[in-house]
């Protein structure tokens, strides 16, 4: 499989009479995009706003973040199973509007959405203070059931992201990255002397509002399976998640999965990266055991010596993480785990719900219980009062002067467990 990523670097967003790209400026036809999204009868209103790095802007409550991409060439369309067909993606050419993001905003569950500050102390913790954001805020029609509301927001985010890229598809790319993914028969014998390594990619799948989709399939219904990195880059894995904002994997984080990038960067030099094993985090013990057993079986079938395992979420998924680690280590496969911590606001408590002596190599992406005060912003996009009920906010989070005291838990992507940012924790 060979995928070319055609990149245009977006440095600014502005409203325009038509959607176009010129020297870093992405102009957006506001009414055309509003009309496209408002076709979904489940919305009472659809509002578009722009939020740029460094501005005094707060976005709340954030549901998902998506990078604008579309297929230029090759089978299928980005976000297969949702846009276009369910054709296998990951080949041909894909246009990427790097530096731009679609941020979807709506009070679906209330306590499971997040905050993005474009400047100030909160901006240090979210990756999406550095992207040029098109914010889409939705209000549902009266009485819309929340699972339907989530599905509608999810679809609208993909439509908007695809619309932006598709509208500028004729602009020649500034840079082109090529990822070549060989068939297994070649991969197995490539790079003799380098250890074979795979990525065990854990996805949240705990219930109708805690879900992730693979080619449109709710991953709680899959057995662990193999995907190529190029499929992930084309949006084969997308978020349908309403869990704590800090460590749910946004669709953007899947599209730009940094574990895949880090393994590809070492491929052929230090390791032989042979595949991504997608697995889930389900709600019954039998499901957890079945998935863990099957995922490690795939790793053994690939004959890998090492696995990077990334968790999504916290609490009972810690049990999946530890189970995957123990099974792999028992099979002689060396593991490195990526997780965040819930050690209390003072950092004095135990960080994980489960533990095992086999977990000797852990990357911590930070303590999500640590608190931060977010000063007032000149402009707030969305529904600021949600801060009081967001997970990681608490009663009285919203102060009279418009500042908010929250745990990092409430900040979108603050402790992303794909290892997106530099945040970590140490024992002092």
């Amino acid at each position: 499989m060979k995928l070319e990523l055609h990149r245009l670097k977006v440095r600014r967003l502005a409203w325009g009479s038509r959607t176009a790209f010129d020297k870093g400026l992405l102009s957006i036809d506001r009414s055309a995009l509003t009309d496209l999204l408002a076709k979904d009868g489940r919305f009472r209103s659809v509002t578009l706003d722009l939020a740029l790095p460094g501005e005094s802007v707060r976005i709340i409550p954030v549901k998902d973040v998506i990078e604008p991409r579309c297929k230029l060439d090759g089978p299928g369309e980005v976000f297969p199973g949702f846009i276009g067909d369910v054709e296998t993606v990951g080949e041909g050419a894909t246009l990427v509007l790097e530096g731009a993001a679609v941020v979807t905003c709506g009070a679906i569950v209330g306590f499971q959405e997040g905050i993005i500050d474009m400047s100030g102390p909160g901006a240090d913790y979210t990756p999406f203070s550095k992207t040029c954001n098109l914010v889409v805020t939705f209000e549902p029609v009266d009485g819309l059931e929340k699972h339907e509301y989530e599905a509608a927001c999810r679809m609208a985010g993909f439509r908007a992201a695809r619309y932006l890229a598709d509208s500028v598809r004729d602009v020649a790319a500034e840079t082109i990255d090529t990822v070549q993914w060989p068939p297994l028969s070649e991969a197995m014998t490539a790079h003799p002397g380098l250890p074979k390594v795979a990525y065990l990619y854990m996805l949240q799948s705990q219930g109708l509002l805690h879900d992730t989709y693979l080619y449109g399939v709710d991953v709680k219904r899959i057995l662990p399976t193999l995907v190529s990195p190029t499929e992930v880059m084309d949006g084969a894995v997308v978020s349908g998640n309403c869990v704590s904002a800090c460590d749910k994997n946004s669709t953007y984080a899947h599209q730009n999965n940094p574990v895949i990038a880090a393994l590809l960067a070492r491929h052929g030099r230090e390791i032989n990266f042979v595949g991504c094993i997608v697995t889930n985090e389900n709600v019954t013990l039998a499901d957890k055991k079945r998935s863990s057993a099957a995922a490690v079986k795939l790793a053994r079938m690939l004959g890998v010596e090492g696995l990077v395992i990334s968790e999504e979420g916290f609490g009972n998924p810690d049990a999946d993480l530890i189970m995957n680690c123990r099974r792999a280590e028992a099979a002689g496969i060396r593991t490195v785990l990526i997780t965040d911590e819930f050690a209390g606001s003072d950092g004095a408590s135990q960080s994980l719900a489960d533990a095992a002596p086999e977990a000797t190599a852990v990357v911590s992406v930070g303590n999500a219980n640590a608190r931060v005060v977010l000063p007032p912003m000149e402009r707030v996009i969305g529904f600021p009062r949600e801060a009081n009920v967001i997970a990681g906010g608490f009663d009285g989070s919203m102060r009279d002067d418009g500042s908010i005291e929250v745990e990092l838990q409430a900040i979108t992507g603050a402790t992303n467990e794909l290892g997106f940012s530099r945040l970590s924790a140490v024992t002092v």
Binding site: V109, F111, Q112, V197, Q206, G207, L208, H210, V243, S244, P258, V259, A262, A265, R266, E270, I271, V283, E305, G306, V308, G315, N316, R334, V336, E341, F342, G344, S345, A348, S349, Q350, S351, A356, P357, T360, A361, V362, V363, S364, N367, N369, A370, A391, F394, D395, E407, Q409, N416, E417, L418, G419, F420, R422, L423, S424, A425, V426, T427, V428
Partner: protein
């Protein structure tokens, strides 16, 4: 400005005497005594040791509350800005006294305090979470090396500056997890760590696995027919509207609700406050998380004597273990007062 520091030492370092003088009651001496000389030199003009409080190790160990009370009074009378205790090196009772004094100073006078001792001093395990303890050698020969970090950390605390990592500053880790930004993103660190692990090269985990403590099993319930059973849950079941505002995640409180006369948790009256699982099923019928309906039925059938009138509930979602342990202790006291015999604890 020059900060006013009070130094705490034992009878030995005050030159009063050895074990035979360990019964010395707390007393205040003007200015610098014994090891205070080295500290004062290190402070320069930034801080002055205005007084030294001396107490015998034996007296402190045998009269901890009273001694602490007296010592706090003496320190308060000096209008101190900070307290420095020890170093205690490997002297167990001295280390314990230093830790206790620093902790009391911090709690009651709300001024900075620190001490210093050998890592194996029993005072370390007792007080490392409460107070900063600078690492020293096991005997007074290590004084010269202990003084610079003691002085520099105390000045940082006085000036409200943030402390660096334990190894950089010279204090013993307090066991608190603290956030920082590392040079590389997490995914890069993970890939590098895996390469090292595969090559058998040394690497450092960023989160050493905890060791959970164990409690011996309580004796079994002997007489079910006569038993009073209580329900406790971490599944967040609350009266609809969540009257006590239990947080969806990282709960800081638990609720206590009366279910006397309630034979079924209906969707009209009960729901979940838990933010970590799909609430559809619990909101539809809270008995799916807290089985009140069948327990009531069994109570009527006389299988056990009584379902306790109150149930206890919190949200076990990202809630720190230390917080949950506190809830558990408080709930246990209430259950004891209510003469409960056994507990069913449900979790989601």
């Amino acid at each position: 400005m020059t900060y006013r520091v009070v130094h705490y030492i034992n009878q030995f370092f005050a030159g009063i005497g050895g074990e035979e003088q360990a019964g010395q009651k707390p007393l205040l001496k003007e200015g610098i005594v014994g090891p205070g000389q080295a500290l004062a030199a290190e402070f320069g003009d930034k801080a002055t040791i205005v007084a030294t409080v001396v107490c015998g190790d034996g007296y402190f160990a045998e009269n901890m509350d009273e001694a602490t009370e007296t010592i706090i009074g003496l320190i308060a009378s000096c209008k101190a800005d900070a307290v420095i205790a020890g170093p205690a090196f490997n002297a167990g009772r001295y280390g314990t006294a230093c830790g206790a004094v620093c902790t009391a100073v911090k709690d009651r006078l709300a001024i900075p305090a620190l001490t210093a001792m050998y890592p194996e001093n029993p005072g370390v395990d007792l007080f490392r979470k409460e107070t900063i303890i600078v690492e020293t050698a096991d005997s007074a020969r290590g004084l010269r090396k202990a003084v610079p970090p003691m002085a520099s950390i105390l000045l940082k605390l006085l000036e409200g500056r943030e402390l660096g990592l334990p190894a950089e500053e010279g204090y013993l880790p307090q066991g608190l997890r603290k956030n920082l930004f590392r040079a590389e993103p997490g995914a890069e660190r993970a890939a590098s760590m895996l390469v090292k692990k595969l090559r058998g090269e040394p690497f450092e985990t960023e989160y050493p696995m905890p060791v959970f403590d164990r409690v011996p099993p309580a004796p079994a319930l002997k007489d079910l027919k006569g038993a009073r059973i209580a329900l406790v849950t971490s599944g967040g079941i609350v009266p609809k509207g969540n009257p006590d505002h239990i947080e969806a995640s990282s709960a800081s409180r638990y609720g206590e609700y009366d279910i006397s006369g309630v034979s079924d948790l209906t969707s009209a009256d009960y729901a979940t406050a838990h933010g970590g699982y799909d609430p559809t099923y619990a909101d539809g019928d809270a008995d799916r998380v807290l089985p009140v309906d069948v327990l009531r039925e069994m109570e009527r059938e006389g299988i056990f004597a009584k379902l306790h009138d109150l149930f206890y509930t919190t949200v076990g979602n990202g809630t720190p273990v230390a917080m949950a342990a506190r809830f558990g202790r408080e709930i246990a006291v209430k259950l004891r007062e209510a003469a409960v015999d056994a507990v069913i604890l449900t979790s989601t």
